[in-house]
Protein backbone atom coordinates (compact mmCIF):
# COMPACT_ATOMS: atom_id res chain seq x y z
CA UNK A 1 0.00 0.00 0.00
CA UNK A 2 2.72 2.39 1.02
CA UNK A 3 4.67 1.80 -2.16
CA UNK A 4 1.57 2.35 -4.18
CA UNK A 5 0.87 5.80 -2.78
CA UNK A 6 4.46 6.78 -3.34
CA UNK A 7 4.24 5.81 -6.98
CA UNK A 8 1.15 7.93 -7.38
CA UNK A 9 2.81 10.86 -5.65
CA UNK A 10 5.76 10.71 -8.05
CA UNK A 11 3.44 12.08 -10.65
CA UNK A 12 3.83 12.88 -14.27
CA UNK A 13 7.58 13.55 -14.29
CA UNK A 14 8.55 10.05 -13.13
CA UNK A 15 6.32 8.51 -15.74
CA UNK A 16 8.10 10.28 -18.61
CA UNK A 17 10.47 8.16 -20.66
CA UNK A 18 14.15 9.10 -20.50
CA UNK A 19 14.32 10.63 -24.01
CA UNK A 20 11.29 12.74 -23.12
CA UNK A 21 12.92 13.88 -19.88
CA UNK A 22 16.01 14.79 -21.86
CA UNK A 23 13.89 16.73 -24.31
CA UNK A 24 12.14 18.55 -21.49
CA UNK A 25 15.36 19.52 -19.73
CA UNK A 26 16.98 20.41 -23.02
CA UNK A 27 14.17 22.81 -23.71
CA UNK A 28 14.43 24.32 -20.22
CA UNK A 29 18.19 24.74 -20.74
CA UNK A 30 17.50 26.62 -23.93
CA UNK A 31 14.80 28.96 -22.63
CA UNK A 32 17.03 31.79 -21.30
CA UNK A 33 18.95 31.99 -24.55
CA UNK A 34 15.77 31.76 -26.58
CA UNK A 35 14.27 34.76 -24.80
CA UNK A 36 17.42 36.79 -25.41
CA UNK A 37 17.74 35.66 -29.01
CA UNK A 38 14.18 36.68 -29.84
CA UNK A 39 13.79 39.94 -27.94
CA UNK A 40 17.29 41.34 -27.84
CA UNK A 41 18.65 40.08 -31.11
CA UNK A 42 16.12 39.03 -33.71
CA UNK A 43 13.73 41.91 -33.05
CA UNK A 44 16.42 44.59 -33.38
CA UNK A 45 17.86 42.79 -36.40
CA UNK A 46 14.52 42.68 -38.20
CA UNK A 47 13.94 46.25 -37.13
CA UNK A 48 17.22 47.26 -38.75
CA UNK A 49 16.11 45.72 -42.04
CA UNK A 50 12.80 47.48 -41.62
CA UNK A 51 14.50 50.86 -41.13
CA UNK A 52 16.46 50.34 -44.30
CA UNK A 53 13.25 50.67 -46.32
CA UNK A 54 12.60 54.14 -44.97
CA UNK A 55 13.92 57.63 -45.18
CA UNK A 56 14.29 58.47 -41.49
CA UNK A 57 14.41 62.04 -40.25
CA UNK A 58 14.95 63.03 -36.65
CA UNK A 59 12.17 65.03 -35.12
CA UNK A 60 11.38 65.95 -31.56
CA UNK A 61 10.93 62.76 -29.54
CA UNK A 62 11.35 60.30 -32.38
CA UNK A 63 11.64 59.78 -36.09
CA UNK A 64 9.71 60.71 -39.19
CA UNK A 65 9.43 57.65 -41.42
CA UNK A 66 8.97 57.97 -45.15
CA UNK A 67 8.65 54.73 -47.09
CA UNK A 68 11.05 54.73 -50.04
CA UNK A 69 11.21 51.01 -50.91
CA UNK A 70 14.67 49.81 -51.95
CA UNK A 71 16.11 53.25 -52.67
CA UNK A 72 18.54 53.01 -49.75
CA UNK A 73 20.00 49.78 -51.06
CA UNK A 74 20.33 51.16 -54.58
CA UNK A 75 21.86 54.27 -53.12
CA UNK A 76 24.44 52.27 -51.17
CA UNK A 77 25.41 50.09 -54.11
CA UNK A 78 25.43 52.58 -56.97
CA UNK A 79 25.47 56.17 -55.69
CA UNK A 80 27.73 55.93 -52.64
CA UNK A 81 31.27 55.84 -53.99
CA UNK A 82 32.94 54.29 -50.98
CA UNK A 83 30.67 51.40 -50.07
CA UNK A 84 31.66 48.88 -52.74
CA UNK A 85 35.36 49.63 -52.42
CA UNK A 86 35.25 49.18 -48.68
CA UNK A 87 33.36 45.89 -48.92
CA UNK A 88 35.97 44.56 -51.34
CA UNK A 89 38.71 45.77 -49.02
CA UNK A 90 37.07 43.96 -46.10
CA UNK A 91 36.89 40.77 -48.15
CA UNK A 92 40.55 41.06 -49.09
CA UNK A 93 41.54 41.63 -45.46
CA UNK A 94 39.50 38.62 -44.44
CA UNK A 95 41.16 36.34 -46.99
CA UNK A 96 44.63 37.33 -45.78
CA UNK A 97 44.11 37.74 -42.04
CA UNK A 98 41.98 34.77 -41.05
CA UNK A 99 44.35 31.97 -42.18
CA UNK A 100 47.34 33.81 -40.70
CA UNK A 101 45.59 34.32 -37.36
CA UNK A 102 44.55 30.70 -37.10
CA UNK A 103 47.98 29.43 -38.04
CA UNK A 104 49.82 31.77 -35.65
CA UNK A 105 47.46 31.16 -32.74
CA UNK A 106 47.54 27.37 -33.07
CA UNK A 107 51.31 27.44 -33.36
CA UNK A 108 51.76 29.62 -30.28
CA UNK A 109 49.17 27.64 -28.31
CA UNK A 110 51.11 24.46 -29.00
CA UNK A 111 54.31 26.12 -27.84
CA UNK A 112 52.59 27.31 -24.67
CA UNK A 113 51.12 23.90 -23.97
CA UNK A 114 53.23 21.19 -22.40
CA UNK A 115 55.75 20.85 -19.63
CA UNK A 116 58.51 23.42 -19.39
CA UNK A 117 59.92 25.85 -16.89
CA UNK A 118 58.22 29.23 -16.63
CA UNK A 119 54.99 27.96 -18.14
CA UNK A 120 52.80 30.06 -15.86
CA UNK A 121 54.84 33.17 -16.59
CA UNK A 122 54.55 32.79 -20.37
CA UNK A 123 50.86 32.00 -20.16
CA UNK A 124 50.22 35.22 -18.31
CA UNK A 125 52.23 37.21 -20.84
CA UNK A 126 50.42 35.68 -23.78
CA UNK A 127 47.13 36.55 -22.14
CA UNK A 128 47.92 40.27 -22.31
CA UNK A 129 47.05 40.56 -26.04
CA UNK A 130 43.44 39.75 -25.20
CA UNK A 131 43.35 42.70 -22.82
CA UNK A 132 45.01 44.97 -25.37
CA UNK A 133 42.62 43.82 -28.10
CA UNK A 134 39.56 44.76 -26.07
CA UNK A 135 40.50 48.38 -26.63
CA UNK A 136 40.46 49.22 -22.94
CA UNK A 137 43.87 50.85 -23.35
CA UNK A 138 42.77 52.67 -26.48
CA UNK A 139 43.38 55.86 -24.59
CA UNK A 140 45.86 57.59 -26.78
CA UNK A 141 49.01 56.28 -25.23
CA UNK A 142 51.98 57.18 -27.32
CA UNK A 143 53.74 54.18 -25.82
CA UNK A 144 51.43 51.87 -27.66
CA UNK A 145 52.53 53.24 -31.00
CA UNK A 146 56.10 53.21 -29.77
CA UNK A 147 55.73 49.49 -29.20
CA UNK A 148 54.36 49.05 -32.69
CA UNK A 149 57.29 50.95 -34.17
CA UNK A 150 59.58 49.02 -31.92
CA UNK A 151 58.32 45.76 -33.29
CA UNK A 152 58.93 47.07 -36.76
CA UNK A 153 62.51 47.96 -35.97
CA UNK A 154 62.93 44.82 -33.97
CA UNK A 155 62.57 42.69 -37.08
CA UNK A 156 65.13 43.66 -39.66
CA UNK A 157 63.04 43.92 -42.78
CA UNK A 158 65.80 44.86 -45.23
CA UNK A 159 67.50 41.57 -44.65
CA UNK A 160 64.25 39.69 -45.17
CA UNK A 161 63.49 41.55 -48.38
CA UNK A 162 66.86 40.49 -49.72
CA UNK A 163 66.27 36.87 -48.78
CA UNK A 164 62.84 36.80 -50.35
CA UNK A 165 63.65 38.63 -53.58
CA UNK A 166 66.38 36.13 -54.33
CA UNK A 167 64.30 33.11 -53.38
CA UNK A 168 61.88 33.36 -56.30
CA UNK A 169 58.66 33.61 -54.28
CA UNK A 170 56.00 35.61 -56.17
CA UNK A 171 55.93 39.31 -55.35
CA UNK A 172 52.38 39.32 -53.93
CA UNK A 173 52.96 36.37 -51.63
CA UNK A 174 56.18 37.96 -50.49
CA UNK A 175 54.55 41.25 -49.58
CA UNK A 176 51.91 39.37 -47.57
CA UNK A 177 54.58 37.52 -45.63
CA UNK A 178 56.54 40.70 -45.06
CA UNK A 179 53.48 42.50 -43.83
CA UNK A 180 52.79 39.72 -41.37
CA UNK A 181 56.33 39.80 -40.07
CA UNK A 182 56.47 43.56 -39.71
CA UNK A 183 53.04 43.70 -38.11
CA UNK A 184 53.67 40.73 -35.85
CA UNK A 185 52.57 42.80 -32.88
CA UNK A 186 49.10 43.45 -34.25
CA UNK A 187 48.84 39.87 -35.56
CA UNK A 188 49.58 38.57 -32.07
CA UNK A 189 47.20 41.07 -30.51
CA UNK A 190 44.37 39.90 -32.75
CA UNK A 191 45.19 36.22 -32.28
CA UNK A 192 45.05 36.32 -28.48
CA UNK A 193 41.53 34.98 -28.11
CA UNK A 194 42.09 32.18 -30.62
CA UNK A 195 45.24 31.31 -28.72
CA UNK A 196 43.43 30.82 -25.42
CA UNK A 197 40.63 28.84 -27.10
CA UNK A 198 43.20 26.54 -28.69
CA UNK A 199 45.02 26.23 -25.39
CA UNK A 200 41.84 25.02 -23.69
CA UNK A 201 41.27 22.61 -26.57
CA UNK A 202 44.79 21.23 -26.30
CA UNK A 203 44.37 20.86 -22.56
CA UNK A 204 41.31 18.69 -22.93
CA UNK A 205 42.96 16.16 -25.24
CA UNK A 206 43.38 13.01 -23.20
CA UNK A 207 47.05 12.29 -22.38
CA UNK A 208 46.29 8.62 -22.92
CA UNK A 209 46.00 9.21 -26.65
CA UNK A 210 49.55 10.57 -26.71
CA UNK A 211 50.79 7.68 -24.59
CA UNK A 212 49.35 5.18 -27.02
CA UNK A 213 50.89 7.00 -29.95
CA UNK A 214 54.25 6.97 -28.18
CA UNK A 215 54.00 3.25 -27.50
CA UNK A 216 53.17 2.62 -31.13
CA UNK A 217 56.25 4.58 -32.14
CA UNK A 218 54.65 7.53 -33.87
CA UNK A 219 56.88 10.43 -34.85
CA UNK A 220 56.00 13.88 -33.53
CA UNK A 221 54.68 14.90 -36.92
CA UNK A 222 52.40 11.87 -37.06
CA UNK A 223 51.16 12.60 -33.56
CA UNK A 224 50.32 16.14 -34.64
CA UNK A 225 48.49 15.06 -37.79
CA UNK A 226 46.65 12.07 -36.36
CA UNK A 227 45.86 13.19 -32.81
CA UNK A 228 46.31 16.89 -32.17
CA UNK A 229 44.79 18.16 -35.39
CA UNK A 230 41.62 16.03 -35.39
CA UNK A 231 41.05 16.56 -31.67
CA UNK A 232 41.51 20.33 -31.95
CA UNK A 233 39.49 20.61 -35.18
CA UNK A 234 36.19 21.64 -33.51
CA UNK A 235 38.05 24.54 -31.95
CA UNK A 236 39.52 25.48 -35.34
CA UNK A 237 35.94 25.96 -36.50
CA UNK A 238 35.16 28.24 -33.54
CA UNK A 239 38.34 30.23 -34.01
CA UNK A 240 37.63 30.61 -37.70
CA UNK A 241 34.16 31.99 -37.07
CA UNK A 242 35.56 34.33 -34.42
CA UNK A 243 38.38 35.47 -36.70
CA UNK A 244 35.94 36.13 -39.53
CA UNK A 245 33.64 38.11 -37.25
CA UNK A 246 36.59 40.03 -35.85
CA UNK A 247 38.04 40.74 -39.26
CA UNK A 248 34.74 42.03 -40.66
CA UNK A 249 33.89 43.99 -37.52
CA UNK A 250 37.24 45.76 -37.59
CA UNK A 251 37.12 46.73 -41.27
CA UNK A 252 37.05 50.37 -42.36
CA UNK A 253 33.52 49.94 -43.64
CA UNK A 254 32.11 49.90 -40.12
CA UNK A 255 33.44 53.44 -39.71
CA UNK A 256 31.66 54.42 -42.91
CA UNK A 257 28.42 52.90 -41.63
CA UNK A 258 28.77 54.62 -38.27
CA UNK A 259 29.50 57.90 -39.98
CA UNK A 260 26.53 57.58 -42.31
CA UNK A 261 24.22 56.63 -39.47
CA UNK A 262 25.27 58.86 -36.62
CA UNK A 263 27.40 61.73 -37.95
CA UNK A 264 25.38 62.38 -41.10
CA UNK A 265 22.13 61.26 -39.49
CA UNK A 266 21.15 59.15 -42.49
CA UNK A 267 19.65 56.29 -40.48
CA UNK A 268 17.90 54.54 -43.35
CA UNK A 269 20.98 54.43 -45.56
CA UNK A 270 23.11 53.30 -42.60
CA UNK A 271 20.69 50.47 -41.91
CA UNK A 272 20.73 49.45 -45.57
CA UNK A 273 24.53 49.40 -45.55
CA UNK A 274 24.55 47.36 -42.35
CA UNK A 275 22.10 44.94 -43.92
CA UNK A 276 24.11 44.49 -47.10
CA UNK A 277 27.35 44.13 -45.19
CA UNK A 278 25.68 41.64 -42.88
CA UNK A 279 24.58 39.53 -45.85
CA UNK A 280 28.14 39.52 -47.22
CA UNK A 281 29.57 38.51 -43.82
CA UNK A 282 27.04 35.75 -43.26
CA UNK A 283 27.60 34.44 -46.77
CA UNK A 284 31.36 34.25 -46.27
CA UNK A 285 30.99 32.65 -42.84
CA UNK A 286 28.52 30.03 -44.02
CA UNK A 287 30.72 29.05 -46.98
CA UNK A 288 33.82 28.77 -44.78
CA UNK A 289 31.99 26.89 -42.03
CA UNK A 290 30.51 24.49 -44.56
CA UNK A 291 33.92 23.71 -46.05
CA UNK A 292 35.76 23.37 -42.75
CA UNK A 293 33.03 21.38 -40.97
CA UNK A 294 33.54 18.60 -43.56
CA UNK A 295 36.90 17.79 -42.02
CA UNK A 296 36.04 18.42 -38.37
CA UNK A 297 36.14 15.38 -36.14
CA UNK A 298 33.53 14.82 -33.40
CA UNK A 299 33.14 11.88 -31.09
CA UNK A 300 29.41 11.80 -31.58
CA UNK A 301 29.23 10.94 -35.27
Amino acid sequence: MKDNTKAVKKGWYARLSYPKKRGLWGFIFLVPWLIGAIFFFMVPLVQTFYYSLFQMDLKLGGFDYTFIRLDNFINALTVNTDFNTYVLEALKDFAINVPIQIFVSLFVAMLLNGEYKGRGFFRVIFFIPIILATGITDVKLATYTVAKQGSQNFVNVDFLIQVFTTSGIPQSAMSTILQTVTNIFSVITKAGVQMIIFLAGLQSISPQLYEVAKMEGCTKFEVFCKITLPMISPMILVCMVYSIADSFAGATITTLINQTTFTNGNYGLGAAMSGLYFVVTVGVTLICTFIVSKVVFYYDN
Binding site: Y18, R22, W25, F29, P32, I35, G36, F39, F40, F41, M42, P44, L45, Q47, T48, Y51, L111, L112, Y116, G120, F122, V124, I125, F127, I128, I130, I131, T134, I136, T137, V139, K140, L141, V146, A147, G150, S151, F154, F185, I188, I196, I197, A200, Q203, S204, S206, Q208, L237, V238, V241, F248, A249, A271, S274, Y277, T281, V282, Y298, Y299, D300
Partner: protein, 340 residues
Protein backbone atom coordinates in the same frame (compact mmCIF):
# COMPACT_ATOMS: atom_id res chain seq x y z
CA UNK B 1 78.53 -17.22 -19.37
CA UNK B 2 79.15 -14.06 -17.49
CA UNK B 3 81.27 -12.48 -20.23
CA UNK B 4 78.69 -13.24 -22.88
CA UNK B 5 76.02 -11.64 -20.80
CA UNK B 6 78.24 -8.66 -20.17
CA UNK B 7 78.93 -8.16 -23.87
CA UNK B 8 75.27 -8.41 -24.62
CA UNK B 9 74.51 -5.93 -21.88
CA UNK B 10 77.18 -3.60 -23.15
CA UNK B 11 75.88 -3.44 -26.69
CA UNK B 12 72.34 -2.78 -25.55
CA UNK B 13 73.63 -0.12 -23.21
CA UNK B 14 75.54 1.46 -26.08
CA UNK B 15 72.59 1.36 -28.37
CA UNK B 16 70.42 2.76 -25.61
CA UNK B 17 72.87 5.53 -24.87
CA UNK B 18 73.10 6.50 -28.54
CA UNK B 19 69.34 6.63 -28.65
CA UNK B 20 69.31 8.60 -25.42
CA UNK B 21 71.85 11.10 -26.74
CA UNK B 22 69.89 11.59 -29.91
CA UNK B 23 66.69 12.02 -27.99
CA UNK B 24 68.31 14.43 -25.59
CA UNK B 25 69.69 16.64 -28.35
CA UNK B 26 66.33 16.66 -30.11
CA UNK B 27 64.63 17.64 -26.87
CA UNK B 28 67.19 20.35 -26.20
CA UNK B 29 66.75 21.74 -29.72
CA UNK B 30 62.99 21.71 -29.26
CA UNK B 31 63.35 23.52 -25.97
CA UNK B 32 65.63 26.18 -27.48
CA UNK B 33 63.18 26.65 -30.35
CA UNK B 34 60.26 26.98 -27.95
CA UNK B 35 61.99 29.44 -25.64
CA UNK B 36 63.37 31.55 -28.50
CA UNK B 37 59.95 32.10 -30.02
CA UNK B 38 58.15 32.53 -26.70
CA UNK B 39 60.70 35.04 -25.44
CA UNK B 40 60.76 37.03 -28.69
CA UNK B 41 56.98 37.32 -28.94
CA UNK B 42 56.67 37.77 -25.19
CA UNK B 43 59.09 40.68 -25.42
CA UNK B 44 56.90 42.34 -28.05
CA UNK B 45 53.80 41.84 -25.94
CA UNK B 46 55.27 43.08 -22.70
CA UNK B 47 56.86 46.20 -24.21
CA UNK B 48 53.74 48.42 -24.32
CA UNK B 49 52.69 47.31 -20.84
CA UNK B 50 56.13 47.97 -19.43
CA UNK B 51 56.37 51.34 -21.21
CA UNK B 52 53.05 52.34 -19.71
CA UNK B 53 54.28 51.30 -16.29
CA UNK B 54 57.59 53.10 -16.80
CA UNK B 55 55.88 56.32 -17.77
CA UNK B 56 53.74 56.10 -14.66
CA UNK B 57 56.61 55.42 -12.29
CA UNK B 58 58.97 58.08 -13.67
CA UNK B 59 59.26 61.15 -11.52
CA UNK B 60 57.08 63.84 -13.02
CA UNK B 61 59.79 66.46 -13.44
CA UNK B 62 61.95 63.96 -15.27
CA UNK B 63 59.34 62.93 -17.86
CA UNK B 64 60.67 63.45 -21.35
CA UNK B 65 64.29 63.55 -20.19
CA UNK B 66 64.72 59.82 -20.44
CA UNK B 67 67.87 58.65 -22.18
CA UNK B 68 67.00 54.99 -21.92
CA UNK B 69 63.99 53.19 -23.35
CA UNK B 70 63.83 50.86 -20.37
CA UNK B 71 65.17 52.48 -17.22
CA UNK B 72 63.36 55.53 -15.82
CA UNK B 73 65.76 58.38 -14.90
CA UNK B 74 64.18 58.80 -11.48
CA UNK B 75 61.24 57.07 -9.90
CA UNK B 76 58.41 58.34 -7.78
CA UNK B 77 54.94 57.14 -6.93
CA UNK B 78 53.37 60.55 -7.46
CA UNK B 79 51.72 59.77 -10.81
CA UNK B 80 50.34 56.52 -9.46
CA UNK B 81 49.06 58.25 -6.35
CA UNK B 82 47.29 60.90 -8.42
CA UNK B 83 45.87 58.25 -10.73
CA UNK B 84 44.68 56.29 -7.70
CA UNK B 85 42.84 59.32 -6.36
CA UNK B 86 41.45 60.47 -9.72
CA UNK B 87 39.97 57.05 -10.49
CA UNK B 88 38.74 56.68 -6.90
CA UNK B 89 40.41 53.33 -7.32
CA UNK B 90 39.22 51.17 -4.37
CA UNK B 91 35.57 52.05 -4.96
CA UNK B 92 35.80 51.70 -8.72
CA UNK B 93 37.73 48.46 -8.48
CA UNK B 94 35.28 46.89 -6.06
CA UNK B 95 32.30 47.86 -8.17
CA UNK B 96 33.92 46.83 -11.46
CA UNK B 97 35.01 43.46 -10.16
CA UNK B 98 31.71 42.59 -8.49
CA UNK B 99 29.67 43.83 -11.42
CA UNK B 100 31.85 41.98 -13.91
CA UNK B 101 31.84 38.83 -11.83
CA UNK B 102 28.04 38.71 -11.84
CA UNK B 103 27.96 39.31 -15.58
CA UNK B 104 30.60 36.66 -16.28
CA UNK B 105 28.84 34.06 -14.13
CA UNK B 106 25.47 34.77 -15.75
CA UNK B 107 26.95 34.56 -19.22
CA UNK B 108 28.83 31.35 -18.50
CA UNK B 109 25.79 29.71 -16.91
CA UNK B 110 23.49 30.61 -19.77
CA UNK B 111 26.03 29.48 -22.36
CA UNK B 112 26.76 26.22 -20.53
CA UNK B 113 23.06 25.29 -20.51
CA UNK B 114 22.16 26.38 -24.02
CA UNK B 115 25.30 24.88 -25.52
CA UNK B 116 24.47 21.47 -24.07
CA UNK B 117 21.11 21.45 -25.78
CA UNK B 118 22.74 22.46 -29.05
CA UNK B 119 25.41 19.80 -28.71
CA UNK B 120 23.35 16.81 -27.66
CA UNK B 121 19.70 17.25 -28.54
CA UNK B 122 18.63 17.12 -32.12
CA UNK B 123 15.16 18.48 -32.72
CA UNK B 124 13.33 20.11 -35.57
CA UNK B 125 14.78 23.53 -36.23
CA UNK B 126 17.79 23.07 -33.97
CA UNK B 127 20.14 23.87 -36.83
CA UNK B 128 18.19 27.04 -37.59
CA UNK B 129 18.43 28.09 -33.95
CA UNK B 130 22.13 27.38 -33.98
CA UNK B 131 22.47 29.51 -37.10
CA UNK B 132 21.07 32.35 -34.98
CA UNK B 133 23.89 31.76 -32.50
CA UNK B 134 26.41 32.13 -35.33
CA UNK B 135 24.57 35.25 -36.55
CA UNK B 136 24.82 36.79 -33.11
CA UNK B 137 28.59 36.25 -33.21
CA UNK B 138 28.96 37.78 -36.63
CA UNK B 139 26.68 40.79 -36.48
CA UNK B 140 28.72 43.69 -35.12
CA UNK B 141 26.90 45.20 -32.18
CA UNK B 142 27.08 48.68 -33.70
CA UNK B 143 25.04 47.70 -36.73
CA UNK B 144 21.96 46.90 -34.67
CA UNK B 145 22.74 49.50 -32.03
CA UNK B 146 20.04 51.97 -33.04
CA UNK B 147 17.31 49.35 -33.22
CA UNK B 148 18.52 47.78 -29.98
CA UNK B 149 18.38 51.13 -28.23
CA UNK B 150 14.87 51.83 -29.45
CA UNK B 151 13.64 48.36 -28.51
CA UNK B 152 15.15 48.73 -25.05
CA UNK B 153 13.59 52.12 -24.62
CA UNK B 154 10.15 50.74 -25.50
CA UNK B 155 10.56 47.17 -24.30
CA UNK B 156 7.54 45.02 -24.86
CA UNK B 157 6.68 41.35 -25.25
CA UNK B 158 4.20 41.19 -28.12
CA UNK B 159 2.22 44.08 -26.67
CA UNK B 160 1.66 42.29 -23.36
CA UNK B 161 3.37 44.85 -21.15
CA UNK B 162 1.53 47.69 -22.80
CA UNK B 163 -1.69 45.86 -22.08
CA UNK B 164 -0.85 45.56 -18.37
CA UNK B 165 0.99 48.79 -17.58
CA UNK B 166 -0.49 50.98 -20.24
CA UNK B 167 2.96 51.81 -21.59
CA UNK B 168 6.01 49.83 -22.69
CA UNK B 169 8.84 49.27 -20.23
CA UNK B 170 11.90 51.51 -20.36
CA UNK B 171 14.96 49.32 -19.78
CA UNK B 172 17.47 52.11 -20.41
CA UNK B 173 19.27 53.43 -17.37
CA UNK B 174 19.05 50.38 -15.14
CA UNK B 175 21.73 47.93 -14.11
CA UNK B 176 19.16 45.17 -14.32
CA UNK B 177 18.94 45.35 -18.11
CA UNK B 178 22.67 44.64 -18.50
CA UNK B 179 22.29 41.59 -16.29
CA UNK B 180 19.22 40.57 -18.24
CA UNK B 181 21.20 40.68 -21.47
CA UNK B 182 23.99 38.61 -19.95
CA UNK B 183 21.63 36.01 -18.50
CA UNK B 184 19.87 35.58 -21.82
CA UNK B 185 23.08 35.02 -23.74
CA UNK B 186 23.04 38.33 -25.57
CA UNK B 187 25.65 40.17 -23.53
CA UNK B 188 29.16 40.93 -24.74
CA UNK B 189 30.02 38.22 -27.31
CA UNK B 190 27.45 35.84 -25.80
CA UNK B 191 27.21 33.78 -28.96
CA UNK B 192 30.89 32.92 -28.92
CA UNK B 193 30.67 31.25 -25.50
CA UNK B 194 27.83 29.04 -26.64
CA UNK B 195 29.82 28.04 -29.68
CA UNK B 196 32.99 27.24 -27.70
CA UNK B 197 31.11 25.15 -25.15
CA UNK B 198 29.04 23.33 -27.75
CA UNK B 199 32.21 22.22 -29.50
CA UNK B 200 33.67 21.02 -26.18
CA UNK B 201 30.54 19.04 -25.33
CA UNK B 202 30.56 17.43 -28.74
CA UNK B 203 34.16 16.45 -28.17
CA UNK B 204 33.07 14.18 -25.28
CA UNK B 205 32.17 10.59 -26.11
CA UNK B 206 28.41 10.03 -25.74
CA UNK B 207 29.19 6.75 -24.01
CA UNK B 208 30.00 8.38 -20.65
CA UNK B 209 26.54 9.92 -20.50
CA UNK B 210 25.00 6.61 -21.48
CA UNK B 211 27.05 4.88 -18.79
CA UNK B 212 25.81 7.39 -16.21
CA UNK B 213 22.23 6.74 -17.30
CA UNK B 214 22.68 2.99 -17.06
CA UNK B 215 24.09 3.49 -13.58
CA UNK B 216 20.91 5.29 -12.60
CA UNK B 217 21.85 8.96 -12.78
CA UNK B 218 19.12 11.27 -13.97
CA UNK B 219 19.55 13.94 -16.62
CA UNK B 220 20.50 16.74 -14.24
CA UNK B 221 22.85 14.59 -12.21
CA UNK B 222 24.60 13.43 -15.37
CA UNK B 223 24.93 16.99 -16.58
CA UNK B 224 26.24 18.53 -13.36
CA UNK B 225 28.40 15.65 -12.07
CA UNK B 226 29.66 14.00 -15.24
CA UNK B 227 29.50 16.39 -18.17
CA UNK B 228 30.40 19.75 -16.64
CA UNK B 229 33.61 18.57 -14.91
CA UNK B 230 34.81 17.11 -18.19
CA UNK B 231 34.61 20.46 -19.97
CA UNK B 232 36.07 22.43 -17.07
CA UNK B 233 38.94 23.77 -19.21
CA UNK B 234 36.50 25.28 -21.66
CA UNK B 235 34.22 26.55 -18.90
CA UNK B 236 37.17 28.32 -17.34
CA UNK B 237 38.23 29.79 -20.67
CA UNK B 238 34.73 31.05 -21.30
CA UNK B 239 34.40 32.64 -17.89
CA UNK B 240 37.82 34.28 -18.16
CA UNK B 241 37.05 35.66 -21.61
CA UNK B 242 33.67 36.83 -20.42
CA UNK B 243 35.26 38.53 -17.42
CA UNK B 244 37.85 40.33 -19.51
CA UNK B 245 35.35 41.49 -22.09
CA UNK B 246 32.79 42.64 -19.58
CA UNK B 247 35.45 44.37 -17.51
CA UNK B 248 36.65 46.38 -20.49
CA UNK B 249 33.27 46.79 -22.15
CA UNK B 250 32.17 50.35 -22.64
CA UNK B 251 29.44 49.87 -25.18
CA UNK B 252 26.65 48.10 -23.29
CA UNK B 253 27.33 49.81 -20.00
CA UNK B 254 27.30 53.30 -21.45
CA UNK B 255 24.23 52.41 -23.50
CA UNK B 256 22.15 50.81 -20.78
CA UNK B 257 23.40 51.47 -17.28
CA UNK B 258 22.44 54.37 -15.08
CA UNK B 259 24.69 57.33 -14.34
CA UNK B 260 25.81 56.03 -10.98
CA UNK B 261 27.11 52.75 -12.34
CA UNK B 262 28.71 54.55 -15.23
CA UNK B 263 30.75 56.66 -12.86
CA UNK B 264 32.15 53.58 -11.15
CA UNK B 265 33.07 51.23 -14.00
CA UNK B 266 36.84 51.56 -14.43
CA UNK B 267 36.85 51.08 -18.19
CA UNK B 268 34.45 53.99 -18.63
CA UNK B 269 36.30 56.11 -16.10
CA UNK B 270 39.53 55.59 -18.00
CA UNK B 271 38.12 56.67 -21.34
CA UNK B 272 36.35 59.55 -19.66
CA UNK B 273 39.41 60.80 -17.85
CA UNK B 274 41.70 60.81 -20.88
CA UNK B 275 39.97 63.78 -22.46
CA UNK B 276 40.06 65.91 -19.32
CA UNK B 277 43.27 64.93 -17.59
CA UNK B 278 44.28 68.55 -17.05
CA UNK B 279 41.08 69.38 -15.22
CA UNK B 280 41.08 66.13 -13.34
CA UNK B 281 44.46 66.90 -11.80
CA UNK B 282 43.45 70.51 -11.16
CA UNK B 283 40.29 69.31 -9.50
CA UNK B 284 42.28 66.91 -7.36
CA UNK B 285 44.64 69.68 -6.25
CA UNK B 286 41.74 71.74 -4.96
CA UNK B 287 40.73 68.85 -2.73
CA UNK B 288 44.22 68.24 -1.36
CA UNK B 289 46.12 70.26 1.27
CA UNK B 290 48.14 73.06 -0.27
CA UNK B 291 51.42 71.52 0.84
CA UNK B 292 50.95 68.78 -1.70
CA UNK B 293 51.86 70.46 -4.99
CA UNK B 294 50.65 69.06 -8.26
CA UNK B 295 51.47 70.11 -11.77
CA UNK B 296 48.81 69.93 -14.45
CA UNK B 297 50.01 72.29 -17.15
CA UNK B 298 52.57 70.05 -18.79
CA UNK B 299 51.09 67.61 -21.33
CA UNK B 300 53.91 65.22 -20.49
CA UNK B 301 52.74 65.00 -16.91
CA UNK B 302 49.14 64.58 -18.01
CA UNK B 303 50.25 61.68 -20.14
CA UNK B 304 52.27 60.25 -17.28
CA UNK B 305 49.26 60.24 -14.97
CA UNK B 306 47.11 58.81 -17.75
CA UNK B 307 49.61 55.98 -18.20
CA UNK B 308 49.43 55.29 -14.49
CA UNK B 309 45.61 55.19 -14.74
CA UNK B 310 45.73 52.77 -17.67
CA UNK B 311 48.15 50.52 -15.85
CA UNK B 312 46.02 50.51 -12.70
CA UNK B 313 42.94 49.59 -14.73
CA UNK B 314 44.44 46.58 -16.53
CA UNK B 315 46.49 45.33 -13.58
CA UNK B 316 43.58 43.41 -11.92
CA UNK B 317 43.00 41.44 -15.12
CA UNK B 318 46.61 40.32 -15.27
CA UNK B 319 46.64 39.34 -11.60
CA UNK B 320 43.38 37.47 -12.01
CA UNK B 321 44.67 35.50 -14.96
CA UNK B 322 47.84 34.63 -13.08
CA UNK B 323 45.78 32.78 -10.49
CA UNK B 324 43.31 31.27 -12.92
CA UNK B 325 45.83 29.81 -15.35
CA UNK B 326 47.09 27.35 -12.72
CA UNK B 327 43.61 25.85 -12.60
CA UNK B 328 43.77 25.19 -16.33
CA UNK B 329 46.13 22.32 -15.76
CA UNK B 330 44.52 20.96 -12.61
CA UNK B 331 41.16 20.79 -14.30
CA UNK B 332 42.42 18.38 -16.88
CA UNK B 333 44.69 16.21 -14.83
CA UNK B 334 41.71 15.47 -12.67
CA UNK B 335 39.59 14.15 -15.49
CA UNK B 336 40.54 10.67 -16.56
CA UNK B 337 38.71 10.46 -19.84
CA UNK B 338 40.07 8.03 -22.37
CA UNK B 339 39.40 7.91 -26.07
CA UNK B 340 37.17 5.03 -27.07
Amino acid sequence: MTTKKQIKNNSTAQRLSRYAVRKKTMNALGLIFRYTILICIGFLIITPIYQTFKEGITEQSMLGFSNSAWVPPATSMQSFLEAYLILDYPKGLLFSILNTLVLALLQTACAALAAYTFARLKFKGSSILFAIVIFSIIVPSQSIMLAQYISFKNFDIFGLIKLIRGEPLNLIGSTFSVYLLAATGMGVKGGLYIYILRQSYRQLPVSIEEAAYVDGAGFLKTFFHIVLPEVSASLLTVSVLSFVWNYSDRYLISLLMGNKARGLQLSLLLSDVQGRMRWAIQDLQSKMPATYVMNWESPLIQKGVLSACAFLVILPLIILYFFVQKKFIQGVERSGLGGD
